[in-house]
């Protein structure tokens, strides 16, 4: 009996239990129609993957900035600390008590300050100002910083960019791996080589070492960087591997065959794509 299209799809996605997988594999070895159906499903998946990669706009810089923005948004909204926030448990109670004292002191000062505000330079006002300083000193807390804006859009991150690794590598995810280069500098040389390893890797040389790297399941993202060399290694064993530069696929490897999708040179076994200088 022929496997259903759902079973073939699950076979492709590695989602069949071992016994069913063996049964489908045995059937495929004998049935040309089902092999054709499987090839059609595989091709459809590859077309979909390539298509949605074309509409991606996620950049490493946006992710870094969003991290800060999320923490600000969480801080401006919560009344207590978030459940997942990491604080030393032994110090949390003391912090809460100090904050409660400080809030009470501030409330008293505000009421009294309002009453004395009508008399500029009054001794009460001077006393209250002095008391404020003394209180904050006593509890070891600096005067509160102005609250962050309630809605923070992604802006240049106040934190320095993550330090640069010399290279990164990932394992394919379900036989698939992709390397995405965004914001490539003019003149950047992207070397692609198929290797007998089980991991995809990216290494930067020269000015390209200022690039930022991000990894996800079966995916490496490289952003920024100067006009040096990026050396990309793709595992020969991956069923599907792609390299994309600024939204355009330049190299693909499917079912054991490599395909150049953009003009390239060959140097010492590397396929080399160069961005316009």
């Amino acid at each position: 009996m022929h496997p259903s299209e759902g079973e073939l799809q699950a076979f492709l996605d590695g989602e069949l239990p071992a016994d069913e997988r063996a049964r489908v594999a045995a059937h495929l070895a004998e049935c040309g129609d089902c092999r054709a159906e499987l090839a059609q499903l595989r091709a459809a998946g590859e077309i979909f993957s390539a298509a949605v990669h074309r509409i991606d706009t996620v950049t490493a810089a946006a992710v870094t900035a969003a991290h800060t923005a999320v923490l600000h948004r969480a801080g401006s909204r919560r009344s207590g600390r978030p459940a997942l926030q990491i604080l030393p448990p032994s110090g949390a109670r003391a912090v809460a008590v100090r904050r409660a004292f400080l809030r009470a002191a501030v409330l008293v000062l505000l009421v009294a300050g309002a009453a004395s505000a009508a008399v500029p330079g009054s001794p009460i006002r001077r006393f209250l100002v002095g008391l404020w300083h003394e209180t904050t000193h006593l509890f070891g807390v600096r005067p509160a910083a102005p609250p962050p804006p309630a809605r923070i859009r992604v802006a240049p991150a106040p934190r320095p960019a993550p330090s640069l690794p010399s290279g990164v590598s990932v394992l394919p995810e379900n036989g698939r791996v992709s390397v995405v280069v965004q914001g490539a500098a003019p003149g950047l040389r992207v070397h692609v080589r198929v290797l007998d390893t089980d991991r995809a890797s990216v290494e930067a040389d020269g000015p390209a070492t200022s690039a930022h790297f991000r990894t996800g399941p079966g995916r490496i993202e490289v952003s920024g960087g100067g006009p040096g060399d990026l050396r990309i290694g793709l595992p020969r064993s991956a069923e599907h591997a792609t390299v994309e530069v600024d939204g355009k696929p330049v190299f693909a490897r499917n079912a054991g065959r490599s395909h150049r999708l953009a003009p390239a040179d060959t140097t010492g076994g590397d396929t080399v794509f160069q961005t316009r200088p």
Binding site: S49, T57, A83, N174, G216
Partner: protein
């Protein structure tokens, strides 16, 4: 739970999923941040954070579309590709056309099918996808296969129409 590590692991995937789902880079960013802010108030086992985030993100997309009655506009919107050097005008036009082809083909799918295919791209298992959309895991393969064929059909028709008009 290490929030920084969790963010670095999950946020790019969530943002990519939402951008693909909405076609609106700003809305996707806003929703992804909101989902993460809400995650910070939850007490979840780490392995449940990812499906939780994607479910909340999807619901926020749906709410936004419903409230503002602009789902159609979101699906048609063309995101701007950030680039340190601006593309040449002909490249920009070409890219806009490419993006439009993909968005129109995606919009031809039912919301459930869009979600399935995009979750599959982010490496979700059939079990996780089944829980997310409320169907049996055994039906996921069939749903994905049919959705992929539908997408490719729509994509090729649009592509052919685009080539003919050039």
């Amino acid at each position: 739970m290490d929030i920084d590590a969790l963010f670095q692991t999950l946020y790019p995937s969530l943002l990519r999923y939402l951008q693909r789902l909405t076609g609106d880079a700003d809305a996707a960013e806003d929703i992804a941040q909101e989902a993460f802010v809400r995650l910070l108030t939850q007490d979840l086992p780490e392995q449940e954070a990812r499906p939780w985030l994607f479910a909340v993100g999807t619901n926020l997309v749906r709410d936004r579309a419903r409230k503002q009655e602009r789902r159609h506009r979101l699906l048609q919107a063309v995101p701007v590709l950030p680039s340190p050097v601006g593309p040449r005008p002909d490249e920009a036009v070409e890219r806009k056309q490419e993006v439009q082809l993909v968005r129109v083909a995606l919009a031809k799918l039912a919301p459930r099918d869009q979600r399935l295919l995009l979750m599959r791209e982010e490496g979700f298992s059939y079990e996780e996808m089944a829980r997310a959309i409320g169907v049996a895991p055994s039906s996921i393969g069939t749903l994905i296969a049919r959705a992929l064929k539908r997408f490719v059909g729509a994509y090729r028709i649009n592509e052919a129409g685009n080539d003919a008009s050039e």
